[in-house]
């Protein structure tokens, strides 16, 4: 082992083991601790669809600069079982440092042998192996033990003195060994600290979507668990009492969305969270939202399909599903946030627009966005208290009164003198079933007018890079960070990058970007280029080239860098 890693100011650490071995504990402690110590961190997980066994891994990056995406390279790996080495082998090079329990791993690889399990047994329980590993990593990174020990005592503060002491001891043992190896092998890093990072936020995609929904006034979430969308349901359940949210696990997704619509009808503000298969079941409900002009917010966390697909993996394969879900013609909004701040913002905006225009709003995310996190300086500041856009009805109230802009006042039952009648059949202004052809036309036009209005509310795509670009890179949603980093890694690149956080409706203004480019490259985490097709259909704008990936994993910086 030599000074291979010198000069590096951007480290990629991977912890891998079987489901149930507690690698998530290592992840949480390590990332929070590193952030507190003033390091930029990023973490994401990749895991198998099983509760025990298999090989799951956590990737953590520590860098002098803010980082927010996955790299293929592994600088240091902590394999907790033998399968992990096999699985990660393609990502390792001769420079990769492997830290592990040689006896347990039974491997011929050149590793830094640390008998984690024996050491843990010496404290009294193999469970401490993970904390020893955390301590080791901190020691190896030459970060002071005071930060580690203080963090551990705080982290376990509710568990009683004995457990705190044991964990602090485990951390100390690991740290001492890490320091010893750092010095004896002369491994040194040059990651710059930034004290302001210590005071930043660490928020993952699930949390950002949930917090944005709460900011948007969400008070009713009926849903059915499905990876990778369940984190939002869990978060809302845990905060339900705190923020006054009704949380109900529905018997199926059909029930979930119909409950959501019932809640909006009665004056609630509802969101459902689901993934592709569950969303497919909800599609008739989305059409109902279109017909009864009900606000509705749907969080669609994508995973690779078709059918059950790869339940715990990531893909951008459901754009077209979201775009066309629901029979009949009616307006909708689709957001696709590509960073934590936008996940929050889009969830917040979803409630605002759903209420204002009485339409369904879909937030498209994926496993990558939801399960990743990194330090951020803050979330967008919301200063305006949410107002429920409902009116107190008068006698003779008509739910679907024809108006100039297509939006009718929304009343709710039990508030005012009028009757609030909503119908999934075509209806007249009062909400009563009709087969009058002129009324039909008036109602279709009324609904579609709202679609035109929604074009005034578009969250425009953000442009990054060289203003005098020749290459225009186009991406949407979770590919945002990886494109940014890959682009910025190229010097004098002549690349411009357009990041879409709203994918429907789209603004005609984007045509300008095409005019100025010599080559347009679409980057999508799917096999068929669904966004590329949408842009071509809407504006006749085409791509010269595309970069796609659909093996279930997110793009790495290296992959995008090479193909740009």
């Amino acid at each position: 082992m030599d000074k291979k890693l010198k000069q590096r100011d951007d480290l990629s650490i991977v912890i891998a083991g079987e489901a149930g071995q507690g690698i998530e504990t290592i992840e949480i402690i390590l990332t929070k601790l590193l952030k507190r110590a003033g390091y930029n961190v990023f973490a994401a997980k990749e895991y198998m669809s099983r509760v025990r066994g298999g090989t799951n891994s956590i990737g953590i990056r520590i860098s002098s600069r803010p980082v927010a995406c996955f790299v293929n390279r592994i600088d240091i790996v902590f394999p907790l079982d033998k399968k992990a080495i096999m699985r990660l082998k393609p990502r390792m090079t001769e420079k990769t440092i492997i830290v592990g329990d040689k006896k347990a791993l039974a491997t011929d690889e050149k590793i830094i042998d640390i008998p984690f399990l024996d050491l843990a047994e010496s404290i009294g329980n193999p469970i401490f192996a993970n904390i020893i590993a955390v301590g080791f990593a901190i020691g190896l990174l030459d970060i002071g033990q005071d930060v580690l020990l203080l963090f551990l005592s705080e982290y376990f503060s509710k568990k009683g003195k004995e457990i705190i002491d044991q964990n602090v001891r485990a951390g100390q043992i690991g740290w001492d060994l890490g320091q010893e190896k750092q010095k004896s092998l002369d491994i040194s890093f040059e990651i710059k600290k930034d004290i302001s990072v210590a005071n930043e936020f660490i928020i993952n995609g699930h949390q950002a979507i949930s917090l944005g929904a709460i900011a948007g006034g969400c008070n009713f979430i009926p849903s059915y668990p499905m990876s990778p969308s369940t984190g939002v349901l869990t978060f809302m359940a845990q905060q339900g009492e705190n923020f006054g949210i009704v949380v109900e696990q529905a018997e199926d997704e059909i029930s979930a969305i119909n409950m959501g619509l019932g809640s909006w009808y009665a004056g609630g503000r509802s969101m459902v969270t689901t993934s592709g298969g569950g969303f497919a079941l909800m599609t008739e409900g989305i059409s109902l939202a279109g017909c009864i002009e009900s606000p509705m917010v749907i969080h669609l966390a994508q995973r690779p399909g078709p059918a059950t697909g790869l339940p715990t993996r990531t893909e951008q394969g459901d754009l077209e599903l979201a775009l066309y879900a629901g029979h009949g013609e009616f307006p909708r909004v689709i957001y696709a946030p590509g960073n934590i701040q936008d996940a929050f913002l889009c969830a917040y905006k979803a409630f605002e627009l759903a209420d204002k225009y009485q339409v369904p709003v879909i937030i498209l995310t994926d496993q990558l966005l939801l399960d990743s996190y990194y330090n951020i300086s803050g979330l967008p500041i919301i200063t305006e208290e949410i107002k429920n856009l409902i009116i107190k009805t008068q006698a003779g109230y008509k739910r679907y009164q024809i108006t100039e802009n297509g939006i009718s006042d929304r009343g709710i039952p039990g508030y005012g003198e009028g009757f609030v009648c909503v119908d999934s059949d075509e209806h007249d202004e009062g909400g009563y079933i009709t087969e009058d052809f002129d009324t039909r036309i008036a109602m279709v036009d009324k609904r579609l007018k709202k679609g035109e209005l929604l074009k005034q509310e578009i969250l425009e795509p953000e442009f990054y890079g060289d203003q005098d670009y020749e290459k225009l890179v186009v991406g949407w949603g979770s590919t945002n960070h990886v494109i940014l980093e890959a682009m910025r890694s190229k010097e004098n690149n002549g690349i411009g990058y357009l990041y879409f956080k709203q994918i429907y409706p789209l603004s005609e203004k984007i045509e300008e970007y095409w005019k100025r480019s010599k080559e347009v490259i679409f980057v999508e985490n799917n096999a068929t280029g669904q966004f590329e097709k949408l842009i071509r259909r809407e504006f006749g704008l085409s791509a010269n080239r595309h970069i796609r990936k659909y093996n279930g994993l997110p793009f790495s910086v290296e992959e995008v860098f090479e193909q740009l």
């Binding site: 005071n199 930043e200 936020f201 660490i202 949390q207 917090l211 900011a215 006034g217 008070n219 009713f220 905060q239 339900g240 009492e241 705190n242 923020f243 006054g244 009704v246 109900e248 529905a250 018997e251 199926d252 059909i254 029930s255 979930a256 119909n258 409950m259 619509l261 019932g262 809640s263 009808y265 009665a266 004056g267 609630g268 503000r269 509802s270 008739e284 409900g285 109902l288 009864i292 979330l379 919301i382 200063t383 208290e385 949410i386 409902i390 709710i412 039952p413 039990g414 508030y415 005012g416 003198e417 009757f419 609030v420 009648c421 909503v422 119908d423 999934s424 059949d425 009563y432 079933i433």
Partner: protein, 287 residues
């Protein structure tokens, strides 16, 4: 309260002359008038089908949603504003067929809503196919050799799930039906009223006469709190009992158990959001 407050001044009714739905409509309106409920607080939720059109013909709030999906929005409406009286009303195909899963789980949830199911043992709106409650051998343009499936027994299923109020009435027994509908609405918890009615166009078997001949009133001595006895009554086939089979007053009510109403009884629409609290909470993510 005026006898006619639920009457529409004019409406173009889509039911066949002689349809059992007319009788049910009158019974429901009479029951509501009899209970003197504030009209502005009564919400009907229905699915799709001829029975599901019933709220169209009354002066009342309604949510006429998707086929089979009346119970989920009804549950959510009640949970969003517990002050409302919520009646989920549709036909046998809607509630027991397309919406069967919701029927089961709504009973488990036990929201304080009334579920009225028009049971005519046939599909009307789609013109005469078998319904989940059609008897074996019932011939239709689809079941050309007669139904070969066992009919769904909603009463037995509801009792087996310990539904908190389970009753069956017949449109031919107007006064009896009205009193039971009133009881169902007043009952605290989920209340099922399976409502026998003839379909004069598509069901030539289960006619007014047939219902008269094949039903009887549960004896006064029937113990409504005895689930086993209620179940025995529910599986009788020779003659079908009418009345309240089973009541469980002790079942916790769904919306009353929700934490949002623990210390604050206001419906959700009367509450605001608390941004200061949220911002303070977000600050925890620094640690």
């Amino acid at each position: 309260m005026s006898q006619t407050i639920y009457d529409m001044e004019q409406c173009d009714i889509a039911w066949c002359p002689g349809c059992g739905n007319f009788g049910i409509l009158n019974i429901i309106k009479d029951a509501l008038v009899g209970l003197s409920l504030p009209q502005q607080d009564v919400v009907f939720v229905s699915g799709i089908g001829q029975a599901a059109k019933i709220p169209q013909y009354m002066k009342a709030h309604y949510f006429n949603g998707l086929h089979g999906r009346a119970l989920p929005p009804a549950t959510a409406i009640k949970a969003t504003n517990p002050k409302l009286t919520v009646i989920a009303e549709s036909g046998d195909g809607d509630m027991y067929g397309e919406g069967g899963n919701h029927f089961i789980h709504c009973i488990r949830r036990n929201p304080n809503i009334t579920n009225i199911v028009h049971n005519n043992m046939v599909y009307g709106l789609t013109k005469g196919q078998a319904s989940p409650t059609s008897e074996r051998g019932f011939k239709t343009p689809v079941q050309i050799n007669g139904v070969i499936l066992e009919p769904f027994n909603p009463i037995a299923v509801a009792i087996s799930l310990d539904a908190s109020f389970v009753a069956r009435v017949s449109v031919g027994e107007k006064d009896h039906a009205k009193e039971i509908v009133k009881k169902a609405i007043l009952h605290k918890g989920y209340a099922l009223v399976d409502f026998f009615q003839p379909c004069v166009t598509f069901n030539k078997t289960n006619t007014y006469k047939w219902f008269k001949e094949h039903t009887y009133f549960l004896e006064e001595s029937h113990d409504m709190s005895n689930r086993i006895k209620a179940f025995e009554k529910a599986i009788e086939t020779e003659k079908l009992p009418l009345g309240v089979f089973y009541v469980n007053e002790k079942k916790p009510v769904f919306e009353e158990q929700l934490t949002v109403y623990r210390s604050d009884k206001r419906p959700l629409y009367e509450r605001g959001s608390d941004l200061a609290k949220l911002n303070e909470f977000i600050n925890n993510f620094k640690n």
